[in-house]
């Protein structure tokens, strides 16, 4: 019994890390079931939604519930948990060692430093401006607006829990900057600058995840993530709209 409970802890911890890092729910369930069956629990059941995990080691066994309220995007952690579950699957890792490794991953800060993220956001904003038929004079303004906009989002997100507010103010700042660039003659096309600069905020991962979940038959999760994506897009859109309606 003790053993079963410990395996359940390993499974739910793996699932929790993945869900927090933004994995698709079907992948979370799959990973948990694989770990469980590698440790000899053939009838383990998992039920995962974007906001929580339900896991039971078998029929008539007690089930564990874990609530996940904060979600971010961290593909690195998903990859790490995935490789641990592969190792368990191949039989090369006992439960105690796996638990220790998973705890390490949970605590680790694998993210790129913020300044690298901001530089990446700035560069990709400029690149998107060119890709969407922009001209080279718009490259630098788009970079600046995108970088500053992303910085604002990071800054507000660190103070306020509601991510949508951060997206709203981020795109609001981008809109204001784009207008300023046009007024001072630094940029050519306001639309191109805004489109490029807004791209780092676009909920691309959410959309792909929603589709993957729907495809896997997780209709509830798919719709939930779709709703989150629409809400994010709405926040970005209204931030820009506020600026546009004043000029």
């Amino acid at each position: 019994m003790e053993n079963k409970l410990f395996i359940a802890r390993v499974c739910t911890l793996a699932g929790k890390i993945m869900l927090k890092s933004g994995a698709e729910t079907y992948r979370v369930e799959d990973t948990m079931n694989r770990i469980a069956s590698a440790y000899g629990l053939r009838n383990a059941q998992s039920y995962v939604t974007p906001t929580g995990i339900n896991f039971s080691t078998g029929f008539a066994d007690p089930s564990n519930t874990i609530r996940v309220s904060e979600r971010s995007t961290d593909l690195h952690k998903i990859t790490e948990v995935n490789s641990i579950s592969r190792k368990i699957d191949e039989g090369g890792l006992d439960a105690i060692e796996a638990f220790r490794l998973l705890k390490e991953i949970e605590k680790a800060r694998l993210a790129f430093p913020e300044w690298i993220q901001i530089i990446a956001a700035a560069l990709l904003s400029g690149c998107f401006a060119i890709m969407f038929n922009g001209t080279w004079p718009d490259f630098l303004p788009a970079c600046a607006a995108g970088g500053i906009g992303y910085t604002v989002v990071l800054w507000i997100a660190s103070m306020i829990d509601v991510r949508i507010i951060a997206d709203f103010f981020g795109s609001f700042v981008i809109g204001v900057l784009a207008v300023l660039f046009i007024k001072t003659g630094l940029g050519v096309s306001m639309d191109i600058i805004i489109i490029g600069a807004v791209m780092p905020l676009v909920p691309g991962l959410l959309i792909t995840n929603a589709v993957r979940d729907l495809m896997a038959g997780h209709l509830l999760s798919g719709m939930g993530k779709g709703a989150e994506a629409v809400l994010t897009a709405f926040a970005i859109g209204s931030g820009i709209a506020v600026v546009l309606s004043f000029i």
Partner: protein, 157 residues
């Protein structure tokens, strides 16, 4: 020609940049950038040769899906790491912005037209991913059947 080179370079940086924002592992950044670049350049070339944007997006998303499957299998890494970065250039962000802008400026007719197009394009991206996934599942299933048959034959002997 110069145009295409500019598109290649910018789409590579854009996809790799997105991989950084999503905190993809360092060793996958180049692959993410490459997949995004190939998907985008297919879309760009098809669109330049007067193909409909929806069809071009579908083809490009299909290519991104297949490449991601291959990369995921080769590097033994979840597929999501590759297809997220690859899909990003195809996401109709510009069009969505334009649609919203028309709504704000009280031109609901044009706004609705553009919004419909956005939905069609997102649908094309989803469909491209679904097709590549279905293809993979069919191939996997056939391989498994073949393997099972061979195992059976060995046992019979």
């Amino acid at each position: 020609m110069l145009d295409i080179i500019a598109q290649l370079v910018t789409s590579f940086i854009a996809s790799a940049g997105f991989a950084i924002l999503f905190n993809a592992p360092k060793r996958t950044l180049v692959q993410c950038g490459t997949i995004g670049m190939l998907g985008w350049i297919l879309y760009y070339l098809l669109h330049e040769s007067e193909m409909d944007a929806v069809g071009a997006t579908l083809a490009a998303a299909l290519l991104v899906g297949v490449l991601s499957q291959l990369a995921a299998r080769f590097y033994k890494i979840p597929i999501i790491i590759f297809n997220v970065a690859g899909i990003i250039p195809l996401v109709p962000g510009g069009l969505a912005y334009n649609a919203m802008r028309q709504f704000v400026e009280d031109d609901y007719n044009l706004g609705l037209q553009l919004a419909t197009k956005v939905m069609l394009l997102s649908g094309a991206i989803a469909l491209g991913l679904v097709f590549s996934e279905v293809a993979k599942q069919i191939i996997d299933k056939q391989r498994k059947q073949k393997r099972d048959k061979e195992r059976e034959r060995k046992l019979m002997r």
